[in-house]
């Protein structure tokens, strides 16, 4: 049986405001428990919400970036349910009338093709607090610092057909919200979270299968694994003659499995209704155009420009524009080097990315700045460094041993380009290896490599290889 996977994602992006969506408490991460929970966040009797302008501005910015409609009038609603991390017993969200309506993004796949993924809507809502289970027996501790942090919930159409597409989409949205500077995208701290709606259907079928909602997926890697696990589970259920049950399942990354969430077993009846404490949000045309003026160059536009201006392939351009910081780094590098876009691209995607990955670091944390790397590339271009030496210098730069020139100087890594010096070394080697010399001269051409090796050994690899070749040819060939 051929099965087709259908995936839709709900992404929660914490907005980068200073204060909360409905209160004037700080949104900073990592404070001591409940020290950033004010009366409004705690749901104290009598307190009231007032909407943060910046949160609205950020939602509009996102809407414009995905070509979506901005609702001239949207409404906040209460989603009612009891949970200890939800202080009021309801979450203020948007239900029937969200601030951002239909839009879309384009994702690039590994095979070079691209697909358009629809965005159903994006709405503003408040985040919940956190339940902590460690350190107490049979008890949970509630920290409400996070309660009231603004969230933009971005809901996709069920347009993705594989776990890989889901990851590509999630990465795309991740890149976008960081470009827009509306979310820091920190998955570990939970500022960017994802729930996946997964179902399967027989290939060729138009009707959707019963879906399950996967929660708690906090990395790109886990999104793929969780979906793959869930798809296989659903296939097993159906092929085993069973039926997929519509339910919310929790992804356990340690066991790599999904399981039903006990807290969601009871049928949801959220009793949404318009929040009487908040009035309809009206967004004027002038507000939207003000926000439009602040839109930065977006990933797709930047990619096109990189292809045009730097002569890069679509693949390279997409990689380099995946994050705004990486693209900025690249452009700064090209500028500092004074051109040589391809060499710069190779180094950023090669040596630099490898080092970052290995150390699990982000481009902004790179110990090698664009200016430092430019210093290195310049020494390649002027012949001071061979490719091999350049890698050695890069390692030293990474280790914080100083600028390229200083490292070259200190380690004596400078390429030997003085012909008379190389000639002198060759003469010595010829004298020391009379047998090999005569064999070569007798026609054993293969021994040329032996002499190159000897020269490199003697110069610790610093001799300019091209010069070594030329001089060796001349000297070995000359009968004296």
């Amino acid at each position: 049986m051929q099965w087709e996977t259908v995936i839709g994602l709900e992404i929660h992006a914490q907005l980068l405001t200073n204060s909360k969506i409905f209160s004037a408490a700080s949104t900073a991460f990592g404070a001591a428990p409940n020290t950033q929970a004010c009366l409004v966040d705690l749901g104290y009797p009598g307190v009231l919400p007032v909407l943060n302008k910046e949160a609205v501005r950020m939602a509009v910015k996102f809407g414009l970036a995905v070509g979506a409609g901005i609702a001239p009038r949207s409404v906040f609603a209460r989603k009612n349910y009891f949970y200890p991390d939800l202080p009021k017993g309801y979450q203020i969200s948007q239900y029937e009338l969200p601030v951002v309506s239909k839009g879309s993004v384009e994702i690039e796949l590994e095979d070079g093709s691209s697909r358009r993924i629809g965005i159903t809507r994006a709405h503003l809502e408040e985040d919940a607090g956190k339940s902590l289970h460690e350190g107490f027996e049979g008890i949970s501790g509630i920290d409400l610092n996070r309660a009231g942090t603004p969230l933009l919930e971005i809901v996709s159409e069920p347009d993705m057909r594989s776990a890989k597409e889901a990851v590509a989409y999630m990465k795309k949205i991740h890149s976008l919200v960081r470009y827009l500077e509306i979310c820091d995208g920190n998955l570990q701290e939970g500022s960017f979270r994802c729930d996946a709606n997964v179902s399967i259907r027989r290939k060729g079928e138009h009707k959707f299968g019963t879906r399950t909602e996967l929660k708690n997926i906090n990395s790109f890697h886990f999104v793929e694994k969780a979906i793959l696990y869930e798809v296989q589970r659903q296939i097993d259920v159906i092929e085993g003659g069973g039926k997929v049950v519509q339910e919310t399942r929790l992804y356990d990354s340690k066991k790599n499995e999904t399981r039903p969430m006990r807290s969601k077993e009871e049928a949801n009846d959220y009793r949404y209704f318009p929040d009487p404490d908040l009035l309809p949000l009206e967004i004027a045309e002038s507000f939207v155009s003000e926000v439009r003026k602040t839109l930065p160059e977006l990933p797709d536009g930047k990619k096109q420009r990189f292809m045009r201006a730097y002569g890069l392939s679509a693949y390279d351009a997409a990689l380099l524009t995946a994050s705004r910081e990486l693209a900025d780094y690249y452009e700064m590098l090209v500028q500092a080097v004074g051109g040589e876009a391809k060499l710069c691209a190779n180094w950023v995607m090669g040596e630099l990315s490898a080092a970052l990955n290995q150390n699990n670091q982000d481009i902004v944390q790179s110990p090698v700045t664009a200016v430092m790397l430019a210093g290195l590339l310049k020494r390649i271009l002027d012949g001071t460094l061979s490719g091999k030496l350049a890698k050695e210098v890069f390692e030293a730069l990474w280790a914080g041993e100083g600028e390229a020139d200083a490292v070259i100087e200190k380690k004596g890594l400078k390429q030997i380009t003085d012909s008379s010096a190389i000639g002198k070394i060759i003469d010595e080697i010829m004298t020391a290896n009379p047998r090999q010399l005569s064999d070569y001269r007798a026609g054993k051409d293969k021994l040329f490599a032996f002499f190159v090796g000897q020269v490199m050994k003697a110069t610790q690899g610093k001799a300019n290889p091209q010069q070594v070749n030329e001089l060796l040819k001349k000297k070995l060939g000359a009968y004296s």
Partner: protein, 484 residues
């Protein structure tokens, strides 16, 4: 001095005929003497009140006073008051000490008013008789076997018995106007959004509005001027200048167009109350007003609409009382569900539970459209009736309640009978209009009230109409026997 109006006391304080401390002591003494038989106060702030009075006297001495400095008042126990127990009449909040002041409390505090204490009320303002309070029923000073009305029954009884010269109240469906009517006082519910709701424990957010219960319209004007106005902490607060209500009290009534809705004179109305309304209208005509018969064709929808909208909002507003961060928590909960259900089951009384369940039901899947959405639409019809009426009249008049005060326990058996006591009040809240009840006579030796409904933000006209009626009558000067 307790027989004087707030305005008269203000003059005496200003003229230094009287100190705030003397005045405060005199009310505290009366509270000590009469409160046990009335149960009007939940908390009396003896020490704090005297300290505030002395501070007010100091302000008056160094000419740092305004019209309200040094005047005592009482707050309904629904207003959060920093450092003071704020119970909302519920076991749920019996142990709750508010860490902050409601905007209304803050404004009166800043003006230098002296807080005597917190008054009894129906639990979470849900009731029309003050019988749903965790602290027991309040007695009507005019007849201790009768209710003072509700939910601001403690405020009404305290002012009627001259235990305080004025008190705040809140009105979600008549909770200021009805008790004011049943105790012979003046009670105003301003336009929705006129007074900040911040710090006022919410019952039904789209209906709740704070106001005052006083002897006279003149007193109400004085207090409303200080409590009204924009508050950035309340999204539904209206940013609009507050008129000088006191200065406008004498504005002539000549040509005032009074609308008299025929629907108010239905079989449920005690004929003697209806007659009192007509007697009051005679006085208005004498003052130069003109009475026009009008119709509010959707009036019959107001109570059923109210009993969908208010419970729906309350069911959600009261979800925050879960035994986690404040309020009552049950003993040794076995799990989360047990913590929630028992804390709430024990903390809330029967009427509150009834309304939470009604509200939960009308919002739940499958019933939302039939009940909640329908009521939102009938609410539009009710508001539209008023808007249409105000195209031809300046104010609408009628009875505040269908009958005078009923007996304690008389209506507790049947919620619907109780709800119908606010039949003339509910529609005003649904539309968000201002309304005032003023004493207009007695039926069976019990006071009854005239309700005047105004157009949006037309409190000025309501107060001047009420004030000029009070210059022609002395119903508002009557003091219940035993409290003279």
């Amino acid at each position: 001095m307790h027989t004087k109006t707030l305005t008269e006391l203000a003059r005496d304080l200003k003229a230094r005929k009287l100190s705030s401390e003397e005045l405060t002591r005199s009310y505290l003494t009366r509270i000590e003497r009469f409160n046990p038989q009335l149960n009007a106060f939940i908390t009396v702030l003896q020490e704090e009140a005297l300290a505030a009075a002395r501070a007010a006297d100091a302000r008056i001495k160094c000419a740092d006073a305004n019209a309200l400095t040094g005047l005592p008042l009482a707050h309904k126990d629904i207003f959060c008051t920093a450092g003071v127990k704020t119970s909302c009449g519920s076991k749920m909040l019996d142990n709750f000490v508010s860490p902050y002041d409601a905007t209304v409390v803050e404004r009166f505090r800043q003006a230098g008013m002296v807080l005597l204490g917190k008054t009894n009320m129906d639990e979470f303002a849900m009731g029309s008789s003050n019988e749903t309070s965790f602290y027991g029923p309040v007695k009507n000073p005019w007849d201790p076997t009768r209710v003072p009305g509700g939910s601001s029954g403690g405020s009404a009884a305290a002012v009627a018995a001259r235990l305080a010269p004025a008190a705040t109240g809140t009105d979600t469906g008549g909770s200021i106007r009805q008790p004011a009517a049943l105790t012979g006082l003046t009670g105003i519910k301003p336009t929705y959004g006129r007074v900040s709701r911040y710090g006022m424990i919410a019952f039904a957010s789209s209906l709740d509005q704070a106001g005052v219960i006083t002897y006279t319209a003149e007193d109400a004007a004085l207090l409303l001027g200080a409590m009204a106005g924009f508050d950035p902490r309340d999204s539904t607060s209206v940013d609009r200048p507050v008129p000088d209500y006191t200065a406008e009290l004498e504005r002539p009534l000549k040509g005032l167009r009074i609308g008299l809705p025929k629907e108010f004179f239905d079989p449920g109305l005690d004929g003697r109350v209806g007659a009192a309304v007509h007697a009051a209208l005679t006085i208005y005509k004498k003052l130069g007003a003109e009475v026009r018969d009008i119709s509010l064709p959707n009036f019959w929808l107001s109570v059923p609409t109210y009993y969908v909208v208010a419970p729906a909002e309350c069911s959600s507003n009261l979800s925050r009382f879960d035994g986690v961060r404040f309020g009552h928590r049950c003993e040794s909960p076995v799990d989360l569900l047990d913590l929630y259900t028992r804390s709430r089951g024990e903390g809330f009384g029967a009427e509150v539970k009834r309304r939470i369940m009604t509200g939960t039901y009308v919002l739940s899947a499958g019933y939302y459209d039939a009940y909640y959405l329908k009521a939102q639409k009938t609410r539009t019809l009710i508001r539209q009736d008023f808007i249409t009426a105000f195209e031809n009249v300046d104010v609408i008049m009628g009875p505040s309640t269908p009958t005078p005060a009923f007996g304690l326990g008389e209506k507790t058996g049947d919620p619907i009978t109780m709800y119908l006591n606010d039949i003339y009040a509910n529609g005003v809240n649904l539309a968000g209009l201002p309304g005032i009840s003023i004493p207009m006579g007695f039926v069976d030796k019990l006071p009854v009230g005239l309700q005047i409904i105004g157009n949006y933000f037309d409190e000025t006209r309501l107060l001047s109409a009420a004030h000029q009626y009070q210059r022609e009558t002395d119903w508002h000067r009557q003091i219940p026997r035993g409290f003279e």
